[in-house]
Subunit: 149 residues, 2 copies
Amino acid sequence: MSSQAHDPNCVFCKIIRREIPSATVLETDAAVAFLDIRPVNHGHVLLVPKPHHANLTDLPEPLAAHVASLLPKLCRAVRAATGADGFNVIVNNGRAAGQIINHGHWHIIPRFYNDSVNWPWPHGEYVGDELGQMRFRIERELNPPRGED
Amino acid sequence: MSSQAHDPNCVFCKIIRREIPSATVLETDAAVAFLDIRPVNHGHVLLVPKPHHANLTDLPEPLAAHVASLLPKLCRAVRAATGADGFNVIVNNGRAAGQIINHGHWHIIPRFYNDSVNWPWPHGEYVGDELGQMRFRIERELNPPRGED
């Protein structure tokens, strides 16, 4: 089951239910933000929807919207509190993408010039019609043809 | 000026105004999603709010909410179209965090077991009262004391 209100084996559900303590900085009816205790940099915050959903693909749209509506002020606060030069907002979805806790969550990671983080972005390319084909495949997933399957 | 409806020098504003072509896969009144032509992996999509804002700290909360409300279905479509094992959703804010185009945007990056992406996460720690102090500083930024400055 990837999506349910509460998973008794989930560490984030335990934090949300206050069964495990956390350094919470922000809480609403549907989301909570607390410090990651193993931070990439100090001030690294996790923003977590309260209902248990494995990742972004399972998140109801209104809940994704609510969580993201908290990002501007939370990011401003993290930047001001840490004096960061910038910050990454990251949601890892699935083991292949580095997700460790299977309760979807946003990382807010303060960044500094010359910090120890090194995340190189390889850049591939599209050859021939690969770009058009990829566009077609994604559009078709977003707008499946009616009456066909 | 970090925030305005349209920046004539911004490449994303030009794409949004159709002055530069793009492989668009989704469009609403306030946001557009198109393929990154230099993808980390094929199927790498950029989700971009139409109004020009430098990054997440400048984004109006309702616009952040609208953009994120598109993520679940867009991520499902990218995953299905690419057969990805997982995906990262990333917003880089500021040069120190790897931001290149100063018009805030979400990356949706399909990931595969054993792909060429290598993003190690260093893990620091908090010593003594550092965690409590950081929590206090972020909370104070979120809830500034009245009548003090």
